[in-house]
Amino acid sequence: MSQVALELKDVKKKIGKKEIIKGINLSINQGEVYGFIGPNGAGKTTTIRMIVGLMRLTGGDVKILGKSIQSDYKLAAKNIGAIVENPELYPFMTGWQNLMHYARMYQGVTKERVEEVISLVGLEKVVNDKVGKYSLGMRQRLGIAQAILHKPALLILDEPTNGLDPAGIREIRDYIRELAVKDNVAVMISSHLLSEIELMCDRIGIIQQGEVISERAVHDESTDSQLKVIFEVKQNDKAQEVFEEKELTIEKESNKLIVKLDREDIPNVVKSLIEKDVEVYGVTPIKATLEDQFLELTGGNVIE
């Protein structure tokens, strides 16, 4: 059922003598939401531009539902919907006119479909206003509307929640998840809002200096079996002895003890503490946020 919607095979881009993209391999399945993150200048936008056919590849290939963007452009492009960087639409035309303009560029996108999309993104009230008067949030919604008009198999969104208020962000997030689950759309989201990515995506890829340096599932808890756990106890010394006995590494932070151990060992350790009459106030596993992992991997936000 879950066919590969997007496949990048050793994609390279050279501009002048500089190799900007150094061979990216990744694939996104249908119904999957993939987060594409990286510091500024890492090559996110260049990669996206190559996927949608705005930039030529200097090596490798991009396939959408098995059709190459290079040799089968029309068949590949038919299945892509995208916002590239900001949703720039014609400011002197109304939202409706903008959408009809793009609808005419596909086969079989009817007026009814355009109306349907407008109510999906919640723009009914302003659709007859000029886009020049729209707020960034409204333009973002219109950008999403033009990207899904033709029911693409692959949806590429660059910073989709940029400029939206919290309610709007939630709406778009729910809508993206719905697209993925219900219509089996593969969604690729590039963003620097890491917490957003974490909430929306099934899997993330981190790109730095033109290479995907890490790829991981977001909701998978079992990947990191070694946890850091904060123990809040009254008798720190006694507790420390217990941990040392079990040959666990300890970090001290004020009067808390941070211990690295496997998830399934937690009950055992607690049991030993109680047996030694240590009074335990709290046992809290620290979940490393995506942001921590990201910074750890990329070494901060450095433009190179």
Binding site: L54, M55, Y73, K74, A77, E88, Q97, R104, M105, Y106
Partner: protein, 318 residues
């Protein structure tokens, strides 16, 4: 609707929804009405109709008046009057009743407005590709399942359609305004005009169309040039500036190089096809066939360069 016409519709829609396009038509209409007002107020010698049985006498009187004026004023006015007098004499000698000034005559004279139509078409042609880059909308335009060649082609055709609509607008509004101010001469009036064979009695409608037609050559060539410059440099000001500069200085460029052999290959030596009708050929040895060939070569070159740059280049960030 086929894909081509849908895309053409898109391009025309984007052109005509903008106020700046409508300003062009308002300017044209203002000039056409203004011209008619000025003509009817200040040119008192204009005769809108001659009486059927008495026109010979009216012409003789007019000639006498002109001779008298020439003797008093002399110089430039005498020269102008002498050509009118000889035209009047042609009417009298050949027993052709002169055509009064009217809508067709006014339209015929407004062929000079085509340089303004060219200017407007250059502005549209220079903006149709580069504006998409300026607005950033090129990204959303070029990710559709449509080849870049098709996009470029529909944009160019849209410019030509704009030129055609503007041309027809100029022609029809000149006719209408002319008819209101000076009256309508009928559907196929004949008039006397000077040609290389001296004075001739010709169809005014035919002459009007051929006069507009000759101007279209220059319009298309300069628009294609502007289209090319804007596609290559993605800058409409540069394209408009260069095209207008060349349009205005074209004749001077040819004149400057006239003594060299290559001068006949310069675009501007060939854009005026009327030279073959009047026989007043710019450079010796040029023929209609030669000029048409040169024009086609330039046209194909402009289009090929636009195509290569539009198709091959990456759409990168700003």
């Amino acid at each position: 609707m086929s894909k081509f016409f849908k895309l053409l519709y898109n391009e025309l829609f984007k052109t005509y929804i903008r106020k700046s396009t409508w300003v062009m038509y308002i300017v044209l209409l203002a000039i056409i009405i203004g011209g008619a007002v000025i003509t009817s107020i200040f040119e008192d010698e204009i005769v809108t109709s001659y009486s059927d049985d008495n026109w010979q006498e009216e012409l003789t009187q007019e000639n006498e008046k002109l001779i008298q004026e020439s003797e008093e004023e002399g110089g430039y006015i005498a020269e102008m009057n002498s050509s009118t007098i000889s035209k009047n004499n042609f009417h009298l000698d050949n027993d052709i009743k002169p055509l009064g000034y009217g809508a067709w005559q006014y339209t015929y004279e407004n062929a000079s407005l085509l340089s303004l139509v060219s200017l407007f078409t250059i502005i549209i042609g220079a903006g149709i590709v580069s504006s998409e880059f300026k607005w950033g909308t090129i990204k959303l335009l070029l990710i559709r399942p449509i080849s870049r060649t098709m996009i470029l082609l529909t944009k160019f055709v849209a410019v030509l359609v704009f030129a055609l609509i503007t041309l027809i607008f100029t022609l029809l509004s000149s006719l209408l305004v002319g008819a209101i101010f000076f009256g309508f001469e009928g559907f196929d009036p004949y008039f006397v005009t000077s040609t290389i064979n001296g004075y001739e009695h010709l169809s005014l409608v035919g002459e009007t169309f051929s006069s507009y037609g000759y101007n279209i050559v220059n319009l298309i060539m300069m628009t294609t040039f502007a289209f090319m410059v804007s596609t290559i440099f993605r800058n409409n000001s540069l394209a408009i500036g260069l095209a207008i500069f060349l349009m205005l200085s074209g004749n001077m460029i040819v004149a400057a190089f006239q003594k060299y052999d290559f001068a006949k290959y310069i675009l501007f030596a060939n854009t005026d096809l009327k030279q073959y009708e009047t026989g007043d050929v710019w450079i010796e040895g040029m023929t209609l066939g030669f000029s048409v060939t040169v024009l086609i070569v330039y046209f194909v070159l402009f289009m090929a360069l636009s195509w290569v740059f539009f198709n091959k280049r990456d759409v990168a960030g700003h």
